[in-house]
């Protein structure tokens, strides 16, 4: 009889490291600015000892808050979600439930974004947690990064200077300069054309657990071929990321089952898969290509429902 040596599982890192912060209660004050300017002034005046809070579901889980001062940004009027012919804008304090309830989540080409929103935790968490917080706080298991990466989302940032950072660059380039005392005020992405198709899968141990993997895809099918493919994964890798090699492989190839399988088969090349309490790396190696193939098939109109 042969025994397989199982790898040692490590805990998810960020929460753990938050908990290792100073054990003494440090939080001294809780401030409620009423404008972005005031919030930026407050964070500057506390010189590195302050942090922003919106939904607070991530900070609230930590045994100790690693800040002296919390600056609550829910009174800045940043809670709205708007859509026009060209773009969708999610205010920084719009909750994940707001996104799940949005009418635009029922715009067919954005249906997968609504699905991603509804996949996050349970209703009680979604009622508090914000979309922006999901993108920038708990990135090791967050579900929304994959979906917003394939939509080409950008973070709108206010600080000493205002600017936008592509979500892709935010995750991939740690040296990306952020203005001092920066505050994310919103998330924007172009409205996908009506012929675009999107797909999203969250894979977890139970309906309520955090993800082992999240996979999202958006593409157009033109003349039976993949065009403008964006494929992204989160929760299974050390940081949310686009799978650019697989995207390039798919471009202009026939949108058929063979192509989807071939792309999924090579999508993991050079991908640093995560190993944590949710799943071993070897498990993710097995399951991730299957999930990638499924989102590609769905975008190609060859998903389980269509076949």
């Amino acid at each position: 009889m042969r025994y397989v040596k199982l790898p040692v599982l490590k805990l998810d890192v960020p929460l753990d490291s938050l908990e290792k912060e100073i054990r003494m209660p440090t939080l001294k004050s809780y401030l409620r600015p009423t404008s972005v300017t005031q919030a930026l002034e407050m964070i500057r005046s506390v010189e590195g000892r302050g942090g922003y809070i919106a939904g607070g579901t991530f900070l609230g889980m930590a045994r100790q808050v690693p800040y002296d001062v919390l600056i609550d940004i829910t009174g800045l009027g940043l809670g709205t979600i708007t859509m026009d012919q060209e773009q969708v804008r999610l205010g920084a304090t719009a909750t994940i439930q707001d996104l799940a309830d949005s009418d635009f989540a029922r715009v067919p080409q954005l249906e997968f974004l609504g699905r991603a929103a509804r996949s996050v935790a349970g209703r009680q968490i979604r009622n508090m947690a914000t979309v922006a917080g999901n993108l920038i706080s708990a990135t090791l298991w967050a579900d929304l990064p994959a979906a917003l990466l394939v939509l080409g989302a950008e973070l709108v940032i206010a600080g000493t200077e205002s600017r936008r950072i592509a979500l892709d660059n935010y995750y991939s380039d740690r040296s990306e300069k952020k203005p001092q005392g920066w505050l994310v005020t919103g998330i924007v992405f172009p409205l996908p054309p009506p012929e675009a198709r999107g797909a999203f899968i969250k894979f977890a141990r139970t309906a309520h657990d955090v993800a082992i993997a999240d996979v999202a895809c958006q593409a157009r099918i033109d003349g039976g071929r993949f065009q403008e493919v964006r494929l992204a994964v989160s929760a299974a890798v050390s940081r949310p990321r686009r799978l650019s090699a697989a995207e390039r492989f798919l471009e202009n190839r026939p949108a058929d089952t063979e192509t989807c399988r071939a792309a999924a088969g090579r999508a993991l090349e050079n991908l640093p898969l995560l190993e944590n309490i949710r799943a071993a790396r070897a498990y993710r190696e097995q399951v991730l290509p299957v999930l990638i193939e499924r989102v590609l098939l769905e975008c190609a109109g060859l998903g389980e429902e269509e076949r």
């Binding site: 001294k28 809780y30 607070g56 009680q124 968490i125």
Partner: protein, 159 residues
Amino acid sequence: MKITLTINGALREVEIAPDEKLLDVLRREGCPGVKYGCGRGECGTCTVILDGRAVKSCITFAAQADGRSVVTIEGIGRPGRLHPIQEAILDHGAVQCGYCTSGIICSAKALLDENPDPTEEEVRQAIKGNLCRCTGYEKYVAAILDAAGRMRSQAGEEA
């Protein structure tokens, strides 16, 4: 620091520490029906209704509730005159150990106030964040669907 919030309909001014959780403040202010379970937002026993929406009070800072309105199990029904959700839960025998019950009732009330005629799937989604280790959820789901019917017919009679 001082915050002002409405607890079960009564406007209150409460002295809190900046890092205190809503759960601890509510229990101190006379609402022991809000239960401490995991303290990490996973089990849902601490669920309360904040401005009409179910939230987990163990991971909500009390300061976040400043200027807002909280409803706990103490504000839902009273002895001798239970809320229809509570009556249905009793009728269906959905309570076993009872530790998750007040949280589930809050989740259910937030759902039914917003959506008086939910599907079974919507009920399951609404209580997905509430762990129950006794019942297997079936009786709770049946009770909440039944309560929705009772509340609709009550509303119909009053109208």
